[in-house]
Symmetry: C2
Subunit: 423 residues, 2 copies
Amino acid sequence: MTITASEIELKAQAAKRAARRMATASSEVKNAALNLLAEGLVAREDEILAANARDVEASQANGLSPAKLDRLTLTPERLAAIAKDVRNVAMLADPVGEMIEMRRLPNGMQVGKMRVPFGVIGAVYENRPNVTVDIASLCLKAGSACILRGGKEALQSNLAIGEVIASALADAGAPEGAVQIVESNDRAVVAELLQLKEYIDLVVPRGGEELIRFVEKNATMPVLIGGIGVCHTYVDREADLGKARDIVVNAKTRRYSICNALDTMIVHADVARAFLPEVQKALAAKDCELRCDDRSFEILEGRGGVTRASDDDYGKEWLALIASVKVVDSYDDAVDFIYRYSSGHSDAIVTENYTTAMRFLREVDTAVCYVNASTQFTDGAQFGMGAEIIDATQKFHARGPVGLREICTYKWIVFGDGHTRPA
Amino acid sequence: MTITASEIELKAQAAKRAARRMATASSEVKNAALNLLAEGLVAREDEILAANARDVEASQANGLSPAKLDRLTLTPERLAAIAKDVRNVAMLADPVGEMIEMRRLPNGMQVGKMRVPFGVIGAVYENRPNVTVDIASLCLKAGSACILRGGKEALQSNLAIGEVIASALADAGAPEGAVQIVESNDRAVVAELLQLKEYIDLVVPRGGEELIRFVEKNATMPVLIGGIGVCHTYVDREADLGKARDIVVNAKTRRYSICNALDTMIVHADVARAFLPEVQKALAAKDCELRCDDRSFEILEGRGGVTRASDDDYGKEWLALIASVKVVDSYDDAVDFIYRYSSGHSDAIVTENYTTAMRFLREVDTAVCYVNASTQFTDGAQFGMGAEIIDATQKFHARGPVGLREICTYKWIVFGDGHTRPA
């Protein structure tokens, strides 16, 4: 089915109308909708999986890569996990209406902020149907309507999920138009969506770099950018080398295909000879290759999977079982190196020195800055925020895991008692 | 003097280099620079006023309007007031490095946020030289560098002020390039600045609607939009009419040329007959005209300055001693009216009813939402934030008065102890 430009505009308008009612919906109504959605995903498993099977079959025929097919595929277990995430969102505190930073002014007025919904959030993503549920549930809880445009490979799955969402909204007494699923397979629809500033307050691209750049370049409304992680872990001269080894191995190999995975390990020269052989051994046991600068190559030469790095091997998001290695002479050199190559997603230091740790937290400009922990923790659920909509790498509005609070805005509120401003 | 595109790029690069040092500058250094700047503005009053006199003279010759000439003109008193504002900024708490929202996760990791500087903030504004000092001082305190492009009418004033700023930075040991004044009179320089996303993290336009729209449309980096206020005050059926009169008169007439001034007064039908004649009298005493809908016209017909409103008189920012009047039958009609016409800057209710007041705070989607107070309070200094960089009317990142906290971003920080993420 193809929809015309005016049809997507109608959906955006419907979302905007629903947004006004969503903004003042009670927590009870929103949580009821979420719990009904979770139930529906399990109860209507058959129709969702049948729709998903059609997507998978068509995508296989079109030669979609195995990795992408895997992301597209739903199973009863995966659906149950998605439903559980939705229930978790229902259990989170409602961010809407929370009063923060209240203060009493000398004239007796009480002034502060109230967290309020954004309005309409647009999302443009690729072929993972779970993203449809993730984003819809977060937007609902945060009192916003949403308009969702998933990948064409997942269209049947998304439409089936969309029906479950619509039933849940209706049964809970929530505004029916609050979640709009775009049906068109036409890529021009994305360009059209990005022009609908009048109705859509914020757009979130989730997917590969090409999609992100397209949205960033063409959106007329604000955009939340994220997902590209060139992540560093710096092993300081005062690191506990056992912790360092475990952290590096976890950051690289727990999952290598996600944005918070380690890309480059930086090692202080004073500990390179003690640390590198040990970490190489542990990484090699996980089939991880190392691209080494001259100094680390000299130490590791001849070991399996160890090769010389080229300049292009730094500042590179591997998304593979490969890490580049850099030996530095000082903490400052490590920070300079991160400043130059980090994408501002997740960067870590391993050190037992208190002052070095505190300096790193202040000096490294990245969305999530770690001391003595694996960068793989960068994730809304890990941070106790429930599902996340994106890991933002920009500085505007929200940075790092974007959860319920971060997809809200605020307004200032003033409690007066007949106050007028003196001349 | 005209500078070429590459020169503005050089200034932006210099700002970016300075930004990295500014980000970790101590509060002592930043406050020293601010206090030296305040001293310099007074000590070097003669050269600043001489430069300003050249600007004023040239602008008079070019036929600049009296209102704009007034905004351009500096006096010893105004310079002293500007210097005082700078000292006030020095006295505010340093927002940089503040840890907020810290929590301990079940695995023992401590996770939270740290407020950190934005980087390089660009500002494009018109002919008020005090804006140069306002923005520079807020950016310095917030640990950001800035690149400032004021109106061509104020160029000599801005260059003189820029020299005082540069001396203050140097004498305090702060990075000299942290405040860059663009010297070109060529409007093309603004378009060029808006392309320098690589060096400038955020741009703030301050001025008329044309300038704001130009920046919004052409900027490749995030923009903080604000300054256009179509502001409403709703007098509820349960209002204290004495408070209502004082609030309306203050909101309209204290200063009528600023964005937080009242544009439309909405009055509940039940109190229209009691309230309107009294408020009209008080407004007429301040030379304020009223543009009335049919129902208010019927009550006020024949009084001085009272005429019938046209449709265009609603949703209009007057910036003049004129207000439009609308009578409504219910609270809901008032909120619908504000939803339709407000620019989302500042809107108020006057009521003694607790539940109505609390509903208004939840339901009206505006940057600053008032109960029983004049909208003229919308101002960073009034809210105890020191000087403000803008009153934002967007929902992204910051809304309403934008002070020190709001021109910062944050990063997540994680204190671990060898933590690795389970599979």
